[in-house]
Structures are given as C-alpha cells and as structure tokens.
Amino acid sequence: MSLRRPVRAVAPMVSVAVAGLLVGCGGGDDELLVFAAASVGDVAVELAERYEAEHPGVEVVVTVAGSATLREQVRAGAPASVFWSANADVVDDLADGGFVDGEATPVAANGLVVAVPAGNPAGVSDLGDLARADLTIGWCAAGVPCGDLARLVAAAAELDVAADTETSNVRALLTQLRADELDAALVYRTDVVAAGDDVVVVDPLEGSPTTAVTIAALDGGPDDLTGHRDAFIALVAGSDGRAVLDAAGFGAP
C-alpha cells in the first residue's frame, strides 16, 4: 500500500482513523507522518515528494486539515513527526503541552485578501464592503488561524464584518466562492493563487497583519525517524523550500 497523495480530511475523526491505519499497516518504521495546515497542503505534498526522491526507502505521508484540528489530533496522541502550522499560536499551544521537540521555525508569511467569485457579481470593491449586510460574506471561525487573523485584520481596520458563515477550514470558503454562494470572503492570498481563475482578489490588504507559517518537530513520532524528521524540516526551511513557497505565493518569514 502506497499512499503518497495527501490525505485531505474534513472531519478530524476521519484523519485520525487514516493516520492510525497508515501507521498500523506500514509498521511505522519507514513512514514519516507530516501534519500540514490546509493552506500549506499543496506545498507540503510537493516537498514530500521531493524528499522521497532524495531519500529512497522513506515514505512521507502528508495529512492535510485545519491547523487547530491537527493540533487536537496531536494532543489526542497522533504519531506525527512534523507539524506544519498556518500560524505560530497553534505551535505554541503544542509547545506548552510538551509535544514539540526543540524550537519551532517560521518558514513563511501569509496574509489574507478579500476574494470574490470570478466576475465579482456583487460588485465588491474593498475590505470596507465586508460590513455590508446585504452581501453574503464568509470568513473563518475564531480559534483557527485564518479566523484569528481575519479578526485581527478587521480590528485593525475598525470594521464590523457582517459574516453569514464561519468555517473552521479556509478551503470551505473557497468552495463556496467557486459555487458563487458567497459574495466575498477573507481567505489566504495563497489559496487564491491555488484556486486559479474561479476566484479573484479585489482587495490585496497590503499592510494588514500577517501570520507566520511555522514548522516544528514533534516528540510523538517514531524515534528511529528523528533523522528524517529533522532533515525534512531542514528541506522546508532551506532554499528548496523557500523556492516552492515563493511559487505558491507565500511571503518571506
């Protein structure tokens, strides 16, 4: 069984089950389990494949979900070696709980933008329009990185966002934008890049607060994989990682 595709999970239970399954049938000795935030999912998969190519005999299994969801899975005992979070706070939470081995490394910066469906049917012009009650607006829920960042952005602009839905996963917002069910949403700049032509940016929010994409080594993975664990983190934090992150639209840390 070879699972190199990312395991995308909407519900935490599902990814816990999948992670357990992978560990179970692989014997756990040559599979490096990487937990990656939804916003860095594509980048993580690309770098995982590169790492595998350079290190035959190791499989890097990437589980993609919301950072907070992944944090709860680590707390519940998921045997992940690497935790790649959308912001620093979630990693700090894990560090406080003693789950992190060594220091966390900021690898990129990410910011939010005001995104609308292609063609901008509602005629949204900038962040200020998110206060309009007549528009259907989506953002992330408080407590998840993109939600916390969105609230920071709104507070900095002294804006009351008239939200119609709050998701715990930024990808859900993109799905709803693509379906034209939302007039506008606050999503990561990198998500808009990944979404292609279906979603466009109307306000890049230059100068607004940003979040620090952070990677950390976890204690909970298999001991004999710590070498690969640290090497993978080095790959992400190094120039190869930088290049991939740049291409995906991430800013410098």
């Binding site: 709860e72 829920a141 839905t165 379906a179």
Partner: protein
C-alpha cells in the same frame, strides 16, 4: 402469562455483549473526559444555549417537513402503481446512503443562488436560501425524510385494505378513509418514523455545514458547534456532545416508554 424458556446460544450472547460494549465504551469515554466541575457554567453559556435552541427548533421543523411530504410519499409509493415508481423510491431514499456533504452540495446546486430553483427564487423574491435557518431545516429534512418515507411505506404495504374497504361501504370518501382509518392504523409506525427522522435531523452535520454554513445563532446547530469547539475548546465540545446525547436519549427513551413500552 408465563412464556416457555427460550434458549439463546452462548456465542450469540457473547457477541451481543461485545456489541453492547462497543456502544458503551465511546459514551464512557465522553463521560470520563467531561469537565464535570465546569459543566453547569459551560451548559448555561449563551453559545451552548443558542446552539441547543437552534437545534431543537430546526430539528422539530425538519420533522414537520418530513411529515408533510414524507407521509404522502410513503403512501403513494406503497399504494399507487405508476411508471418509474422504483426510480422515485430510489431517489427518495438516496439521502440515506449518500454522504451528507454530497447532499449539501446537491442542495446548493438546487437551491443555491445559481441553483435551478434558487436562481428563480432569487430573481422573483430577492431572497436566497443558503446561510439561513431555513437552509438548516431544508438540509435536515433532506437527510431525515427518507427514514419516515420508508417506515410509512412499509406500514401501508402491510395494510391489506380490508378495513379501508369496510369504511368505504360505511359511506366514508377516500379522504375520510385516509384520515380516520389509514392514518390511525399506521400510527405506531408513523410515530416511530417521525422520531427516527427527528433524531436524524438533530444529529445532522454534513449537509448543514455545506448548504447552510455555520454562523452562531442562525445556522450553528449543536453538531456544528461541537465541530467548531473541537478545534478550539475541547471541554465545551465534550459538554455539548453530552448535551446532544442526553437530549436524544431522553426523547428516544420516553417515546419508547410511551409507545412501545407495553410490549
């Protein structure tokens, strides 16, 4: 009345015990992890009460919708021969096997702003369904109604029509026969189906989060609140899970006592 002793093979009893444990352990896990000391303050928190209220209102509304469209569907499927009946039955029961998220997507494609029905609705009334409490009810009714349809269809199929024929000879027109004979005769099944549908609506998550979104006070029902809190506040998530379980349990057990207890 004494019954003759019935013998159940030991391995059947053993497997049954295993089954009981399988259901009991996860609930035990919730109970063990529950923040008992803060339980009352969490339960009386406005977010929890809001989600609970919304859940109760929308699940009951969904059960009403299920009754209004599900009972006629069940009766027609059981009694009326028409071309494509099997197709209709398959369609109606599809939400039972479909992943609820897929149901939510389908509802978006139908009642969303660009959807077949939703676009007409918006151009006529200016009103859109998604991200409203109505959407929550629709999503719950979508996944819950099949339970009622199947129960009612089965019950009506089991009626042999003799009593309805007798009612007709007494001068009752088809409407009266349906109200005063058919419905009362399937009442036990109807109640069971309604409770099942209500319970399914109460626990609905996937179609709701996809079609109705997730906003406190408007569309965030208890299951959605649990999902959100799982990522942010575990104690509250567990407390709300217990609450959801308690509400379901109280209703299911009291209904059982009322309607099936005298067996």
């Amino acid at each position: 009345m004494t019954r003759p002793p019935t013998t159940v093979p030991r391995w059947v009893v053993a497997l049954a015990a295993l089954g009981a444990v399988f259901f009991a352990v996860p609930i035990l896990g919730l109970l063990i992890d529950a923040p008992w000391r803060d339980l009352v303050s969490i339960l009386t928190g406005s977010a929890v009460l809001e989600a609970l209220g919304l859940s109760l209102v929308t699940s009951v509304a969904a059960a009403v919708v299920a009754a209004v469209i599900g009972v006629p569907l069940g009766v027609v499927l059981a009694r009326v021969e028409f071309p494509g009946r099997r197709l209709v039955r398959a369609l109606v029961t599809l939400p039972m096997v479909l992943p609820p998220v897929v149901g939510g997507v389908a509802l978006l494609l139908a009642f969303g702003r660009r959807g077949v029905v939703g676009s007409i609705l918006e151009s006529v009334t200016g009103w859109t369904v998604p991200f409203t409490t109505v959407a929550v009810v629709l999503a719950a009714a979508f996944v819950a109604t099949p339970f009622l349809v199947l129960t009612v269809e089965g019950a009506v199929r089991n009626l042999d029509g003799r009593h309805e024929a007798a009612a007709a000879t007494l001068g009752a027109d088809p409407g009266t026969v349906f109200r005063r004979v058919t419905l009362p005769m399937i009442l036990p099944s109807l109640r069971a189906g309604l409770v099942l549908a209500w319970a399914r609506a109460l626990g609905e998550f996937g179609a709701t989060v996809t079609f109705a979104g997730n906003l406190p006070g408007r569309t965030r029902t208890l299951p959605l609140a649990v999902f959100v809190e799982l990522d942010t506040d575990r104690a509250t998530a567990i407390t709300m899970s217990l609450l959801l379980m308690a509400v379901s349990l109280v209703v299911l057990v009291s209904m059982r006592e009322h309607w099936w207890g005298r067996r």
